[in-house]
Amino acid sequence: MTAAIGQFAPGDSWLYRLDPRVKLLHAFLGIVLCLIASRVEALAILLVVTHIILFVGGVSPLRIVAAWGRLAVLLIIILIIQPLFSSGGSVVLARIGPITITADGILAGLRIALRVASAAFIALTPILTTPIPALVRGLEKIGLPYTWGMTVGLALRYLETLTELYQTINEAQQARGWDTASRNIVQRVRAAIPTLIAIIIASLRLSDSLALGMAARGFGLSRPRTHRMGIAMRAADWIAIGVVTIAFVAALFSRVNP
């Protein structure tokens, strides 16, 4: 069993109690900064600040470590591949056949990896600290149709299910004599294709059953929905919006861009 990353776990802190709309605004502005910032230092600061917010906001460090674990492979691939393909700059570090490794290339890899990591953790902030119904409600209040919000909520809910599915299928293959250790990379990639097909079939079955269950409970009726738990902006939420906006503007005017 895997630790549920990328999913809400109950907690109690100012960050958990903030209105989902505030957290969504923070995530939106944070990602905008990620995309326009191009200096490595700026991206690193963004990543550190996000971690401080998560930590002070009472998100378990274990969950943050688990998220890094999931991101690690992607980040390492970026750090290795990027220098191979961006060979600009004058400081040549190594030449291997046709490939030239330059300091700028390595810096470019670092920049992209930092950008991906920052964006991931900024996007995770509302997801980790808001129950899905509240998040859906927040998206709806911003003006998204309920079905869109519900789709986002369901996608988050079943992300973990799909990961578990992959693991279970993999285990079933091993139980039938499939030894990953004794296979080469081509054989392993080949074996992954049927696994993916099995996951697609299983998730189609799941979504079928979900669609039936939702329709049976009156989903898609034209009458207006009610909400058991309302969300409302409190003084703390307005203050948070102020802080987030000021920080964003300040970041824009500081030397984010070279």
Partner: protein
């Protein structure tokens, strides 16, 4: 004078499109007509793939709208034409609980789950908590924490929550697809009690697709059997099971009490037909009983242990210990049934035997050798493990490739490969489906594919985790025949099951787990006679033992099937 039926179906015909261009479309139901009176309970039964679930989904107004296919005929529920009403419009009239509760419980907490439907119907927020409380009380979940995530509930609790979700919308008709599937005997008994109470108190009309004869005979007042797309027979449970007994092609399992009373009726026509153990009458003449032997488990010390666990503890990252200092030795060639409530550690045990999960303490030996350090793939030579869910064990494009996957990995030569694959396909009744994608088969047939994939590996140790859930009677017989065969050939079998009739029929030894520990271990007679212990472990004795206890038989023969019970009965009363 008589009130109109709650459910009226006339001339229903249902067709699914072909799965491939050169195939004809599949006619699932033809000209099906029936009524369910208000407050009645109709069970739709039939072999796997007979279309009983499709029928229920059509009555619920969900098929073909969400499933695809073509429908002709009339379906009226509580006076409303389900094909005309927009989707969702029947939600307050007609409740549905689907076969797989996990797929329809998608909210983060129990309260959110029930509230979600109420929100769709526009129920004022102030009234929601009362409705949630009421619905949970109706299904006996009033003690549950409202903020508990539904995925953390046991299988039985999830089924009841799915029912509460439907009941909160205050329907007058409830449609249930495979309500008993995957439940432990305790979970099943609780669900039966809840549904009976709802019928009495709320005059709820029930329509269910179900195959468990115990479940049907304790609840339904009418049964229809779908065979070959149409209604093959229809009537009260007693009438239908009489008919089904002479039509094995229907693929319907008989209630054990019914099978028992039928055998006795062949000798004494005055013996009354019974559907449950409580309905069996005391024999008219009570003669002196012959003393009978109790077969006790003969510990076979001479044989080496095929499976041995020494003080094994397993703890998952989250949650309590799944296995606690568990020791178990299974001699080579023994047939053991492992039972226990959902979450008692049965599946963890199966996973640790093949090295998919490492013990936090203790050691596991197969054929006398410690498995630590051996890869799962290498252990597969020795031990074939079939897991619960067939969906996650099927990943090849055709049935034959699926069955070939295991033995080919084990390096079987081409000749023996073809032989074991063919033998396996025959044992599990899959010859006709060799080149078909497994995904289009019924659940029962998909499970047979997964089992055939393990069978073809011809391992000396076989571990099956809940292999009978969703199997129809014909497939169940195939599985039983294969198990008996392999056991005779000397294989060691560990069968994890909730089905006590099956365990009593096949196993020499019963082991019961509770919270990761063995609470009972012995011959079926020894274990099944400990009522208090069974109840604590969420289990129920098989029919033969229940009957023996009801009539204070001193003992039973080693045959714990209804047939064995009938022989004892004839011995004691003649």
């Amino acid at each position: 004078m008589s009130a109109p039926p709650s459910v009226h179906v006339a001339g229903l015909t249902f067709t699914f499109p072909a799965w491939a261009a050169h195939q004809p479309p599949r006619l699932v139901l033809r000209d099906v007509s029936f009524d369910v009176l208000a407050g009645g309970c109709l069970a739709v039964t039939g072999a796997a793939g007979s279309g009983k679930s499709t029928l229920c989904m059509a009555v619920a107004g969900l098929a073909p709208r969400l499933t695809g296919g073509y429908l002709a005929g009339t379906i009226v529920v509580a006076g409303r034409d389900v094909q005309v009403e927009p989707p969702g419009a029947l939600a307050g009239t007609l409740g549905v609980a689907l076969a797989d509760p996990a797929g329809q419980l998608f909210n983060p907490t129990v309260a959110d789950e029930i509230a979600w439907g109420l929100e769709n119907l526009g129920v004022p927020p102030a009234r929601m908590d009362d409705r949630i409380r009421g619905a949970l009380a109706m299904v006996g979940l009033d003690q549950i924490a409202w903020d508990q995530p539904p995925q953390t509930l046991s299988g039985g609790q999830q089924k009841r929550l799915a029912l509460a979700v439907a009941l909160a919308l205050e329907p007058s008709v409830l449609i249930l697809d495979q309500p008993s599937g995957g439940l432990s005997p305790l979970g099943r008994a609780e669900l039966i009690a809840v549904l009976r109470q709802l019928r009495q108190q709320r005059k709820l009309t029930l329509l269910m697709a179900e195959s468990d004869p115990e479940f049907i005979s304790r609840l339904a007042d009418q049964i229809i059997v779908i065979h070959d797309g149409h209604i093959a027979c229809q009537g009260t449970p007693a009438e239908v099971y009489l008919e089904a007994a002479i039509h094995p092609e229907y693929g319907i399992a008989l209630p054990p009490a019914f099978a028992f009373s039928q055998i006795l009726r062949q000798r004494d026509p005055a013996f009354s037909l019974a559907l449950t153990v409580d309905a069996i009458d005391r024999p008219a003449s009570k003669r002196q009983r012959k003393p009978l032997e109790v077969a006790s488990l003969v510990a076979d010390i001479a044989r080496p242990a095929a499976i041995q666990l020494d003080d094994v503890s397993i703890r998952y990252k989250t949650g309590p210990e799944a296995l606690r200092r568990l020791s178990l030795a299974i001699p080579s060639g023994q047939f053991v049934a492992l039972a226990g409530e959902n979450g008692s550690g049965k599946t963890t045990l199966a996973r640790c035997l093949i090295g998919l999960i490492k013990p936090t303490a203790g050691r596991v030996l197969l054929d006398g050798a410690d498995i630590a350090g051996q890869s799962v793939g290498a252990l597969a030579r020795l031990i074939g493990v079939a897991f619960q869910n067939p969906e996650t064990q099927i990943f090849n494009p055709t049935v034959i490739e699926e069955v070939t996957f295991g033995p080919r990995n084990l390096g079987q030569s081409d000749d023996s490969l073809a032989a074991s694959v063919n033998e396996s396909l025959t044992s599990f009744g899959l010859e006709a489906w060799r080149d078909v994608p497994p995904a289009i088969l019924s659940l029962s047939a998909r499970r047979m594919v997964a089992l055939a994939g393990i069978a073809a590996m011809r391992t000396p140790i076989i571990v099956l985790d809940e292999p009978t859930v969703g199997l129809d009677d014909n497939d169940l017989r195939r599985l039983m025949a294969w198990l008996v065969d392999r056991h005779r050939a000397g294989a060691t079998v560990l069968l994890i099951t909730h089905d006590m009739e099956l365990a009593a029929h096949l196993a020499e030894r019963i082991v019961i787990l509770k919270r990761g520990q063995i609470v009972a271990d012995g011959s079926p007679q020894q274990v099944f006679n400990q009522n208090a212990l069974l109840q604590e472990a969420g289990l129920e004795a098989p029919f033969a033992i229940q009957l023996a206890q009801r009539f204070n038989w001193p003992a039973l023969s080693a045959d714990l099937t209804p047939f064995g019970a009938a022989r004892v009965w004839m011995g004691t009363s003649s």
